[in-house]
């Protein structure tokens, strides 16, 4: 494992070198392609003049706020649906009717309600993050050891105590999986909304570069979005391990 960590990098490195050579040899001026070295230069330029950092901040702020909003709502609804079967049955058709709507399809409505800007993007991101968190939380509620619920009953824990001391910790590993999933969705949806309509963030940056016939900058944005997405996931995975190491370990042992 340790000895061959670089092996996975051989293919991408070879591809980058090949692309560089091909671009230099053919000497084309393309509107969709750029040499890797030009892309890197454009990336560094955009980073140092601050434009890309501002765009990153805008995208992450919208995605983060949407994730927080949608995630909390999804957590709450998932807990209610998971713990109170009658509510779940009552809401089943409604949820299944709304859930499959592609998040981008609510864009026109969101634009009418919120106009352009952060709140519109946040609303759409929240809408898309709500469902996976809700469904996984609901499933996590069903997966709680029934004996623990009996222990809670026997000790006469209040509803709040039961949720804080038994339900949430027991469901935490699965809820964390939902949060990671939703975080990936949040970034995708935020960038999509920016490309489709909203004049801010990384998605808008990539659109402007494309329309300004700057393929190197456009691809630099693409590379940067990949880096941001990867870092986001790595950060969450690290946080999960650090914060909930014990719970995750238990989950693994029990599985």
């Amino acid at each position: 494992m340790k000895r061959s960590w670089w092996k996975g990098l051989v293919v991408p490195a070879a591809l980058i070198v090949a692309a560089e050579i091909a671009m230099r040899l053919s000497n084309t001026t393309s509107m969709s392609l750029a040499a890797p070295s030009d892309i890197l230069a454009a990336l560094l330029r955009a980073l140092f003049d601050g434009s890309m950092l501002v765009a990153t901040r805008d995208t992450l702020a919208s995605a983060g706020a949407g994730l927080l909003l949608g995630g909390l709502l999804g957590l709450l609804l998932g807990m209610i649906f998971g713990l109170i079967p009658i509510v779940n049955r009552l809401m089943e058709v409604t949820v299944e009717a709304i859930r499959p709507i592609p998040s981008v399809a609510v864009l026109p409505i969101a634009m009418l309600v919120f106009g352009f800007g952060y709140s519109m993007e946040i609303a759409i991101v929240a809408f898309s993050c709500l469902w996976p968190v809700m469904i996984l939380t609901r499933a996590a509620m069903a997966g709680i050891e029934p004996r623990l619920i009996e222990v809670a009953r026997a000790l006469r824990l209040s509803t709040t105590q039961r949720i804080a001391k038994i339900v949430l910790p027991a469901a935490l590993p699965r809820i964390m999986v939902a949060v990671r999933l939703a975080a990936a969705i949040a970034l995708v949806v935020a960038v999509t909304v920016e490309i489709a309509a909203n004049p801010l963030g990384l998605g808008y940056g990539i659109l402007v570069a494309q329309q300004g016939l700057q393929p190197d900058l456009m691809l630099a944005y693409l590379v940067w979005i990949g880096v941001v997405g990867w870092s986001l996931n790595a950060t969450l995975a690290f946080a999960e391990k650090r914060l909930f190491g014990r719970a995750a370990q238990v989950e693994a042992a029990g599985a």
Binding site: L148, E150, A154, L155, K165, V250, G254
Partner: protein, 257 residues
């Protein structure tokens, strides 16, 4: 049987059915205060169900269950339940001490008093130096000790034990039997002990009640006249012990036939 008011647990003509199938039919039984009553019987005789009714986890369809003179409608904090599957009944994300703490948190014990109580309770069940270990790091016997400590933290007047030592090896089981007896002797708690081990029932009980299956009802009610404190070797060699064991063995054989 007469339902006297000083009994700890009273089943008064209790019946229960699941989906039309009778589980327990017309069960009447008194458990006196401070008494250790062991319940045996073939599988499907409703012994665990009876225990769950005494704990308020299940409500009877007919009749009433009274605990310490009051009709039972929901679990009470002074009635502690020791489940057989200790691995599932403990919170795996909490240490031994924090698991015991759960009962104190439920009872609203002030935060400042908890550490001292937890230390005393864990020492009582022989886990003095294991406070900071997680259940998964401990053996089955130790995990069951945590659960017993958590139940003792409830200051129970009644201990309901559902085959608590059934999953443990013979040596651990005997050790825990004696520890339980000495703890109960100290606190004067009433014990309702479900087991499938006939020798265990005779060894622990003041009385052994055998249930018959389909539907569950009382088949035998034996008084155990063995001196206390009991001794794993001497008690088990007494003629009276052997006689009771024989009677119960015959009962089970007939009940299962």
């Amino acid at each position: 049987m007469n339902t006297s008011n000083d009994a700890a647990i009273v089943f008064d003509r209790v019946s229960l059915a699941y989906g039309g199938r009778p589980i327990i039919s017309d069960l009447s039984l008194d458990v006196g205060r401070g008494e250790i009553v062991c319940i045996i019987g073939p599988s499907g005789c409703g012994k665990t169900t009876a225990l769950r009714m005494a704990g308020g986890l299940v409500r009877p369809l007919d009749g009433t269950v009274r605990v310490l003179g009051e009709p039972l409608t929901e679990p009470r904090r002074d009635v502690a339940i020791v489940f057989q599957d200790y691995g599932k009944a403990l919170l795996p994300w909490r240490t031994a001490a924090a698991n015991v703490s759960l009962a104190l948190e439920a009872a609203g014990t002030p935060r400042s008093e908890r550490p001292e109580r937890i230390r005393t309770l864990l020492a009582k069940v022989g886990l003095a130096s294991h406070e900071d270990k997680y259940p998964t790091e401990m053996s089955g016997g130790m995990q069951q000790r945590i659960q017993i400590a958590r139940c003792l933290a409830q200051d129970p007047a009644v201990l309901l034990m559902d085959e608590p030592f059934g999953a443990l090896d013979a040596m651990t089981r005997q050790g825990l039997q004696d520890e339980m007896l000495s703890i109960v002797a100290e606190t004067g708690a009433t014990v309702f002990f479900v087991t499938h081990d006939l020798e265990e029932a005779v060894y622990l009980g003041d009385r052994v009640i055998g249930l018959l299956p389909n539907p569950g009802r009382i088949g035998i009610d034996l008084k155990v006249d063995l001196p206390r404190p009991r001794d794993q070797l001497e008690t088990r060699e007494m003629p009276e012990f052997l006689r009771l064991r024989r009677t119960l063995f015959d009962f089970i054989e007939k009940a299962e036939a």
